[in-house]
């Protein structure tokens, strides 16, 4: 055990954990930040997706010791006011069914649009292929990513 300082959603958090603890469990059990979800524990489902310096990363296989000098964004800290084009598109398309995977889907979509503001179906499928939705909301995810891209371009802002 030892103190590790993590920068999460713009705030510093000191956590007392063994350095090999995956970020997922530091968030959930030590910081009570439960928006990041456990699905498989081996980086295969994407439920635990967070942004690390803007890139989509699986928190379940990422030990905290590797994260002392990076900026972590969890779903709780991602545009809490809800104005991001991806968030609005997710609401307007009513993507969620059970909703368990959707925090990870939203962050994966946001990371995609940051580097590719107008992705094709194929590019969406490539980028989102690691985020499993057991309810099968994929047709809506495809539509919502495109809608978010449209919102962002209409506003001339960055997604």
């Amino acid at each position: 055990m030892g103190q590790i300082t993590l920068s999460i959603n713009g705030e510093k958090h000191a956590v007392d954990v063994s350095p090999d603890t995956p970020l997922l469990w530091a968030l959930r059990d030590h910081l009570d930040m439960v928006g990041t979800k456990y699905g498989c524990g081996v980086g295969l489902c994407g439920s635990c997706t967070v942004l690390i310096d803007g890139e989509a990363v699986r928190a379940c296989t990422m030990p905290v010791e590797a994260l002392e000098n990076v900026e972590i964004t969890t779903i709780e800290g991602f545009h809490p006011a809800g104005g991001h084009p991806v968030q609005r598109a997710w609401q307007d398309e009513d993507v969620a069914q059970c909703g368990y995977c959707q925090g990870g889907q939203v962050l994966a979509a946001a990371a995609l649009l940051k580097t590719n503001p107008d992705p094709s179906d194929e590019e969406i499928e490539d980028a989102m292929g690691g985020n499993i939705c057991r309810c099968g909301t994929y047709p809506r995810i495809r539509k919502a990513v495109k809608l978010a891209a449209r919102y962002a371009s209409e506003e001339g802002g960055e997604a």
Binding site: K37, L44, E76, C98, Y100, Q102, V106, G136, P139
Partner: protein
């Protein structure tokens, strides 16, 4: 001690025996789950609570059923709001806990909508009736001269109007109306809100990662647990090194639970409880258990037994006419066998529950459950408790599909919590979840069909090889003897053989149907081809007559098939490498047909689009309804590529690398066409599921010439 995210006031648990003003000044209306309201003049209702109108104009509507993604938490309050004539934007939805006054609180059998329809309409219309009477009394005008629009009662003649919230006291003094005087809406033409595309009420919480699910519960002093069971179902603990496990960092206790013989209840195991889940997960590596097992079921053993049984006669479950004679006299006989394996529910949220056992002997639980009353009964029975001492809060379910109709994870949590006397959250691993499910059972279908001189299917013989224990089929393994094509052909026989099975099985989304519809509707494709008939024409002909009681509503079924075919442009040439396929089905009150289009490049197939014809009566929430159809198609495609196998009594798969659910690149576009027929609304969680695999498989045949008769479809060399 309290759950941090729960509000302090829990009004839904107060007992309202009368329509009354609550302490907050809110008008409270309730209806009995049977939909019966006592005669006018008496103020007593069966006090189930759905509606609260607050003095500031907000309206709280309680959703009684668990939400698993089927959309009930949005759809149910919509029905109330429609009848209360209030703007949807003003509605706040509250999730009810388990409470006997609500009657049925189950996600299952697509029964939520048909069962709730009357109560919800009465709850809304009854409240509106009393508000209207209050305004009429205040203004001394006949109630018939008043109209309600957007939360306001208006008197056209005098121009007077009053917002609902100004009428609460007067409304509370009105007698409870008899149901017969209430205006309950039935048809889409009457709806203002119902039938519209309404996004889910929990969306904001979901996209901001706010606590919502069972695994999100956090309490002061809460400990985390895992429960380790024998890989071979039902195995007992002979010896376990629990002291060694307790010495691991962060571990509070490790102990053996003797458990019961009930495969759907508390199975024997070892509980590990610690300060964090990760500490428990690591300590589990040090656990060594000597298990005592009593069986060694295997997929290979099942297959050997099935092959042996296929040569026998089986037990005749139904015989109309004389099948052997009819087959002998047939112009052509088509014969084929189909096989599908065991599959897992594989909820994305692995099983989880939180419980606190208080010194007073009362148990509080927070859990994702599809049938909380069933869970409570199991817990009471296993722990020797009184059901009245168990309270269950319904957390949003991270995927149901039938898995959470069985409550092993909840009784395990309750047992551990009673040992610990502090709040405990049991969180299964993905591996636990995949290896301790209640699987959809495998089966073999051996079909023979006779075609007469007119190209009609005139005889049908079916040997169904399924699973059971002690001669009775296990859960999810039965087939109704009145299932079509029984009743659609003159000479029909169903025979059944049972393989003894020691692995747990259970209801899996559209139990039975979701598996065998693929076999039936694929075989129909084969028969139509042999009869040299168009697939649509062949199926419509099959649905054009019955012998005795029809096994399903022929006109409604044919209606959905025509609808899907028309939408897809059936009969057109889909182009090189492409194929169209179709299937119809009826289950759980809903009629659904799909037409699928696939594009094949060699053995790699992309499902491009699915057109669905759906008849579940009037649609309540267009978004929720479409979402169920879209999701069911993806689920069907996904599941058709999967299998759970057993060796030496244990499951071989462990995580998503060897149980690989479909990903976004495999998902087709889905286009829904609803036939809003003159029937009461039915649920949609299940009906779109069953006809999806055969529609896709038949399209694959049309594109590739490969007839898929085994699941996973990769066994036929097809990769989707």
């Amino acid at each position: 001690m309290s759950v941090r995210r729960k509000s302090d006031v829990d009004t839904s648990r107060r007992a309202f025996l009368k329509v009354s003003l609550a302490a907050s000044g809110a008008l409270v209306v309730g209806v009995g789950w049977t939909g019966l309201v006592t005669a006018a003049g008496e103020e007593t209702w069966v006090p189930n609570l759905y509606v609260r109108i607050h003095p500031d104009g907000r309206v709280t509507i309680v959703s009684k059923n668990p939400e698993a993604g089927q959309g009930v938490k949005t759809a149910f309050p919509m029905v109330v709001a429609e009848h209360l004539e209030i703007p949807w934007e003003r509605v706040e939805v509250e999730q009810a806990p388990l409470d006997d006054r609500y009657g049925r609180q189950v996600v299952g059998g697509s029964r939520g909508t048909p069962d709730g329809w009357n109560d919800l309409r009465i709850a809304g219309a009854g409240a509106l009736y009393m508000l209207t009477r209050a305004a009429a009394a205040q203004w001394n005008v006949p109630p018939e001269s008043l109209a309600a629009v957007n939360g306001v009662i208006r008197h056209e003649e005098s121009g007077r109007s009053a917002a609902y919230e100004t009428l609460l006291e007067g409304a509370a003094r009105q007698p409870v109306p008899d149901v017969s005087v209430l205006k309950l809406k039935n048809r889409p033409e009457e709806f203002k809100l119902l039938g519209r595309f309404v996004p889910g009420v929990d969306n904001a919480r979901i996209i901001h990662g706010k606590p919502l699910f069972g695994c999100d519960v956090r309490m002061a002093g809460m400990l985390y647990a895992q429960y380790v069971k024998c890989p071979v179902f039902g195995g007992r603990v002979k010896k376990a090194n629990t002291p060694e496990v307790e010495r691991q960092p962060g571990i509070v206790r490790a102990f053996v639970v003797e458990g019961t013989d009930n495969l759907s209840g508390l199975m024997p195991g070892v509980a590990i409880v610690g300060e964090t889940w990760w500490a428990v997960n690591k300590a589990r590596e040090a656990l060594k258990v000597d298990w005592e097992t009593t069986h060694a079921d295997s997929t290979e053993g099942y297959a050997r037994e099935a092959a042996k049984l296929a040569g026998g006669d089986g037990e005749t479950m139904r015989h109309d006419g004389d099948v052997e004679k009819a087959l002998e006299g047939a112009e052509k006989v088509v014969e084929a066998s189909y096989y599908y394996p065991f599959v897992s529910h594989c909820n994305l949220e692995p099983q989880v529950a939180t419980a606190l056992y208080r010194e007073s002997g009362k148990l509080e639980m927070w859990a994702p459950t599809q049938n909380p009353r069933g869970a409570r009964a199991l817990i009471a029975r296993t722990l020797g408790m009184d059901e009245r001492d168990i309270h269950i809060e319904l957390e949003r379910i991270g995927g149901g599909f039938g898995r959470r109709l069985t409550h092993d994870y909840m009784v395990e949590t309750a047992w551990i919590a009673r040992e610990m006397r502090v709040p405990v959250q049991l969180q299964w691993t993905r591996e636990d979840d995949l290896q301790h499910d209640f699987y959809r059972p495998a089966a073999w279908h051996h079909f023979r069909a006779g075609i007469d001189g007119d190209g009609r299917m005139s005889a049908f013989d079916h040997h169904f090889i399924t699973f059971g224990r002690g001669g009775e089929t296990v859960s999810g393994a039965s087939l109704s003897s009145s299932h079509y094509p029984a009743g659609l052909v003159k000479d029909f026989r169903l025979r059944q053989s049972i393989i003894e099975c020691n692995v747990p099985t259970g209801p899996w989304r559209s139990p039975g149907h979701s598996a065998y519809c693929w076999a039936y509707q694929s075989f129909f494709d084969e028969v139509a081809l042999a009869a040299e008939k168009d697939q649509l024409e062949f199926r419509l002909d099959l649905l054009s007559r019955s012998f005795g009681e029809p096994p399903l509503d022929l006109a409604r079924t044919a209606g959905t098939l025509k609808k899907a075919a028309q939408a897809a442009g059936w009969g057109r040439d889909p182009g090189p490498g492409r194929g169209l396929g179709m299937a119809f089905h009826y289950d759980h009150g809903g009629f659904v047909s799909h037409v699928a289009q696939v594009h094949a490049k060699g053995n790699r197939v992309r499902v491009e689009k699915v057109w669905s014809g759906i008849d579940v009566g009037p649609v309540i929430n267009l978004s929720g309804a479409r979402n169920q159809v879209e999701g069911a198609v993806v689920d069907a495609l996904s599941t058709s590529q999967l299998e759970i196998t057993f060796t030496e009594g244990a499951v071989q798969q462990s995580n998503f690398h060897d149980y690989a659910l479909a990903t976004i690149d495999q998902a087709p576009e889905v286009e829904c066409h609803f036939i809003q027929s003159d029937f009461p609304p039915m649920g949609l969680g299940e009906p779109p599921m069953a006809p999806a695999p055969p529609a896709i498989a038949n399209a694959i045949f049309a594109a590739t010439g490969v007839r898929i008769r085994e699941q996973p479809w990769s066994r036929a060399g097809i990769i989707v």
